[in-house]
């Protein structure tokens, strides 16, 4: 890799970074978008309850509604921190 390429590699990263961030954000927003309006608040409340017992970060709580045929499933996914 020449000096010139190094330059380019470096510069490439800002657009790449933008793409990565967008992909993560939009995937997240699409999940919430299709759910009921109370979902963000529900998720927040659940997080607060868990935090009373276990230290977790906001992004470790995933709440989503899956649409089935004739029924919906509320899916709750909480990643617990590794035990020390």
């Amino acid at each position: 890799m020449g000096l010139f390429d190094l330059f380019r590699q470096n510069k490439k990263s800002s657009a790449n970074k933008a793409k990565e961030r967008l992909q993560i954000l939009i995937a997240h927003e699409r999940v919430n978008r299709n759910g009921p309006d109370y979902l963000p608040q529900l998720r927040y409340d659940i997080m607060k309850v868990i935090q009373k017992y276990i230290p977790i970060d906001e992004d470790q709580v995933k709440v989503q509604v899956e649409n089935g045929h004739g029924y919906d499933v509320l899916e709750l996914n909480i990643t617990l921190p590794e035990e020390k």
Binding site: R8, N10, K12, S14, A15, R21, I26, E29
Partner: protein, 269 residues
């Protein structure tokens, strides 16, 4: 059969009005009876971009309120046959557009034999933007290669897919992606999201790419839809999207940095 097309984006200032003016002018130039409606209540601007600002007598809200007839409110373009403009009202009343009113105007335009009804949406995801997209058959989502614009486009896509009349009836609005203010140089330098990047994220069919171009500002200064600037890259790119929209296969242009220059040849692959 008339078609209602909304030009929308979520984010402001990305080129909706520029696109609405160019696109409608292009369709009319092809012989289709076309009207372009400004939905930006309180912030009328399409009239300026179309160069008809001094001929505005009545507006969209006057028609809805029955204060003026549709025919006397439409401004007929003097450059292109078959082209009409319906200006937005300057009222501050955010509720001036009613769903029923908008529907009746669109129906009347359909009955009057308009082939294309182009709706220039205001920015945002609130009432005005909703009104502009609700009755659409097709949507052109205008996106700049920039994080906030791409994100807002995705949100608008969500609304098109869930809140439009087509969606409520169990169908779907046909979606087109239009990337504007594209700068191949900056993409090559890794500073700007590329067409491929944006397509990966939004995953809707690409109608076209309009390059960043000085002629857009110049055209707006003169009240000339930029598609009439046939020598400019932006004007030509808009011509291409009209052809593509009408079903022609046209190769995408202006996506790469123009090959030239001594340095470039020396270091190029």
């Amino acid at each position: 059969m008339s078609k209602v097309i909304v030009i929308t984006s979520g984010k402001g200032g990305v080129g909706k009005t520029t696109t609405s003016a160019a696109f409608a002018t292009g369709l009319a130039s092809k012989g289709y009876k076309t009207v372009v409606i400004d939905f930006d209540v309180g912030l009328r601007n399409l009239d300026l971009i179309m160069g008809v600002e001094r001929r505005v007598v009545y507006d969209f809200v006057n028609v809805i309120n029955g204060e003026a007839g549709l025919r006397q409110s439409l401004i007929k373009d003097k450059r292109v046959d078959n082209l009409y403009v319906l200006p937005a009202s300057q009222t501050r009343d955010k509720d001036a557009l009613s769903m029923k009113g908008v529907e009746s105007v669109i129906n009347e335009l359909k009955q009057d034999g308009f082939d294309y009804i182009v709706c220039d949406s205001p920015a945002g995801i609130e009432k005005g933007a909703f009104m502009a997209l609700y009755f659409a058959d097709e949507a052109i989502v205008v996106t700049n290669p920039e994080v906030s614009s791409v994100r807002d486009s995705d949100r608008i896509l969500g609304i098109l897919q869930s809140k439009s009349r087509k969606a409520e009836e169990g169908g779907s609005i046909k979606e087109h992606l239009l990337i504007t203010r594209y700068s191949p140089k900056r993409v090559e330098d890794g500073e700007m999201l590329s067409v491929e990047d944006i397509l990966d994220i939004l995953a809707i069919p690409l109608l076209g790419v309009i390059p960043e171009s000085e002629s857009v500002l110049q055209a707006s200064n003169q009240g000339n839809p930029v598609i009439l600037e046939t020598k400019s890259t932006a004007g030509q790119a808009y011509e291409d999207i009209v052809d593509r929209f009408l079903g022609e296969t046209v190769e995408h242009r202006f996506l790469d940095v123009e090959k030239q220059g001594f340095l470039k040849r020396l270091f190029g692959k």
